[in-house]
């Protein structure tokens, strides 16, 4: 069953068509890769799904509900979490504070219980601290919980973003270049994390330029070029698709 479905999604910035008439579906419990050359409109698609920017035309359905016009914070509470291409952690706050931000949308205590630390608020605090530590252990950063997020090495910051997104208890996780800037060893760890995320029955959609990572992790690929969806299918098929080779993989091979 399709968890997420994009229907004739179009986004224009002034005269520039960033995403043009993209329709596709993402089925539950799959890992979908969105690939394509730089400037193809991949991140724009992510921003449209998460509500960071507004659709020009078309509609996006998540679990049967339209996401059109919803605030990003509302979309998160429906179960879509994301990471950013350029890391957007709360740099000055602790690692634990960062993960707790993900728990925010699953908490209930309001202004007055926060002001007065009522018993229900305390129970909730304890529960989210546990949850945050579970997510930190999940990505292997629990021992650094007190450190300032900005002081972590780059690879760890990427992992922390994933932990923060997982703390929102998502059904659908959007990763924008999760392996970007990681060394080989860190990428291997990330693969393990991806496996573990799949075991938690979280559907994943990711943008990534590291092709061996994409081929290894994804079971379905969407290929974009110039704002259009030019191909989709299993990784092996995509690798052989002449259109894709011309647009993307071919160039990549030449570089190497």
């Amino acid at each position: 069953m399709a968890l997420l479905s994009l229907q004739k999604v179009t986004k224009t910035f002034g005269g520039l068509v960033a995403v043009s008439d993209v329709s596709c579906e993402v089925s539950s419990d799959s890992v979908v890769g969105l690939i394509g050359p730089n400037g193809a409109g991949k991140t724009t698609v992510f921003n449209l799904i998460t509500g960071s920017i507004r659709l020009t035309e078309g509609d996006i359905f998540f679990d049967g509900k339209s996401l059109k016009g919803l605030r990003p914070s509302r979309i998160v509470s429906l179960g879509i979490a994301r990471t950013f291409q350029s890391i957007r952690l709360f740099q000055g706050l602790s690692v634990l504070d960062n993960v707790l931000s993900g728990c925010h949308c699953r908490m209930r205590s309001g202004l007055f219980s926060s002001l007065l630390h009522l018993p229900g608020q305390r129970r909730e605090e304890k529960a989210v601290l546990e949850r945050a530590m579970i997510e930190l252990e999940f990505v292997g950063l629990a021992h650094l919980f007190r450190s300032a997020a900005g002081s972590l090495p780059y690879g760890d910051q990427r992992k922390l973003e994933i932990a923060r997104a997982l703390a929102t208890d998502p059904r659908f996780l959007i990763l924008d270049e999760p392996a970007g800037g990681m060394n080989e060893q860190e990428t291997m760890t990330l693969r393990e994390i991806m496996k573990a995320i799949r075991k938690r029955n979280i559907t994943v959609m990711l943008i990534e330029h590291d092709m061996s990572f994409v081929m290894h992790v994804c079971d379905h690929l969407l290929v974009m070029e110039n704002g259009q969806l030019i191909a989709q299918g299993a990784p092996q098929e995509i690798q052989k698709n002449p259109k894709v080779i011309e647009a993307y993989l071919g160039l990549e091979d030449d570089d190497e």
């Binding site: 979490a81 949308c105 601290l129 997104a165």
Partner: protein, 394 residues
């Protein structure tokens, strides 16, 4: 530094805090002996400092925690004072009974004006808030609704009465005002250590990321304004009953600027810093009277120097320590803390923010003082942190 010595230091710190609060509470008596006939004057100075501390603590919610550049706090202070004065003079309400109305009116006004402008960032918001304080002042001067008495203001506001006891002398107000400072510190410390307080900090750090993590940023920005303004309204009531006379000139733009300076100079998001800032900005000029006329010059220079060497303020904000639930507490207790060395004894502020390394040379001298007895500053947040932690464990 072992964990055991850190916790001993912590309890030593809380003992120091209790001692400091006790000495401070005895000040009216001590001053009577030490300063003799000028004691009431010094108490009045302390009361002014306390009143500004309440205002600055409430501004700290907006400017410090949520990072919203707001330079119009005197507007909400004015609304609180005028609502109390009008209810007291025209409708004969006892002044203490007007507190909820004053807070509500100020909060409501804040909600109304914040609504259309919260999406503005930084300098744009600053300009709007400056506009608000001017509009309020001009409205009051022009005797809006025929209730505010125009440029002369309102005269003859009654003294507060608490359970039949009329507060008239400076020492009475000392306990009222500094009691309210203590309540503010306690409540806002709790607020900081909660879902609400964290949401504000996420907004300060990165609005886009905060929204993407599920924080309804507009809602929380407006709420920050409402809370801060309501508390300023409460301070307005106290001010009106202390002065017995209020006029528009008491709430002009300069007052807003002083409050802004207190928070920025002391340390945005750090209540100890804000208290320190209140003493420096409102107290010091009284001690050095010759320096009073030049205080804007001096604070201007101080701000420039601060922005270069210590952009976080004298006492920069730091993440509150969390008491982890088991089994995590014992699991990660003894691991070396790689980046923020001294979080245990409260000196972790040095790891906070990208500016930390730049200010290292200047900071180390200053930071040494708080770390030697982390809880000595005169608020009681340390005590609270221990309490809350123990409650969490139960």
């Amino acid at each position: 530094m072992s964990f055991a010595s850190a916790s001993r230091r912590k309890s030593f710190g809380s003992a120091l805090t209790v001692a400091a609060v006790f000495v401070f509470a005895c000040l009216p008596f001590l001053l009577g002996h030490l300063a003799g006939s000028s004691a009431p004057y010094w108490l009045d100075v302390l009361n002014t400092v306390g009143l500004y501390a309440i205002l600055a603590l409430s501004l700290n919610i907006i400017l410090g925690h949520a990072g919203l550049f707001h330079m119009g706090h005197a507007a909400f202070f004015a609304v609180g004072a005028y609502v109390s004065a009008i209810l007291n003079l025209t409708f004969d309400w006892p002044i203490m009974a007007t507190i909820p109305a004053a807070a509500l009116a100020a909060g409501l006004l804040a909600g109304l004006v914040a609504w259309p402008v919260v999406h503005l960032s930084g300098d744009y918001l600053l300009i709007v808030t400056i506009g608000i304080v001017e509009i309020v002042r001009i409205a009051l001067t022009n005797d809006i609704f025929g209730l505010t008495g125009g440029p002369n203001g309102l005269v003859g506001i009654s003294r507060p009465e608490i359970m039949g006891f009329r507060l008239t002398r400076p020492q009475h107000f000392f306990y009222l005002i500094w009691g309210l400072v203590a309540v503010s510190v306690l409540l806002f410390d709790w607020l900081e250590r909660s879902r609400f307080g964290r949401a504000l900090k996420y907004i300060r750090e990165d609005v886009v990321a905060a929204e993407s993590m599920g924080v309804n940023t507009n809602k929380y920005k407006i709420l920050a304004f409402v809370i801060g303004a309501a508390w300023a309204g409460l301070a307005g009531t106290v001010y009106a009953s202390r002065m017995r006379t209020i006029s528009p000139e008491s709430f002009n733009f300069t007052e807003s600027v002083f409050l802004f300076i207190i928070v920025i100079l002391g340390g945005r998001g750090n209540q100890k810093g804000v208290l320190l800032g209140s003493f420096l900005v409102m107290g010091l000029p009284e001690i050095f009277r010759g320096f009073e006329n030049k205080r804007l010059l001096v604070f201007g220079a101080a701000l420039v120097i601060m922005m270069i060497f210590r952009p976080g303020g004298l006492l920069p904000a730091r993440s509150p320590g969390y008491k982890l639930p088991e089994p995590y507490r014992s699991r990660y207790k003894r691991l070396p803390d790689l980046s923020s060395g001294g979080v245990f004894n409260g000196a972790g502020s040095r790891a906070n923010g990208p500016n930390a390394s730049a200010s290292e040379g200047f900071a180390s001298g200053q930071a040494a003082a708080p770390s030697s007895g982390s809880g000595e500053s005169s608020d009681s947040s340390k005590v609270i942190s221990v309490d809350v932690g123990q409650d969490l464990v139960k």
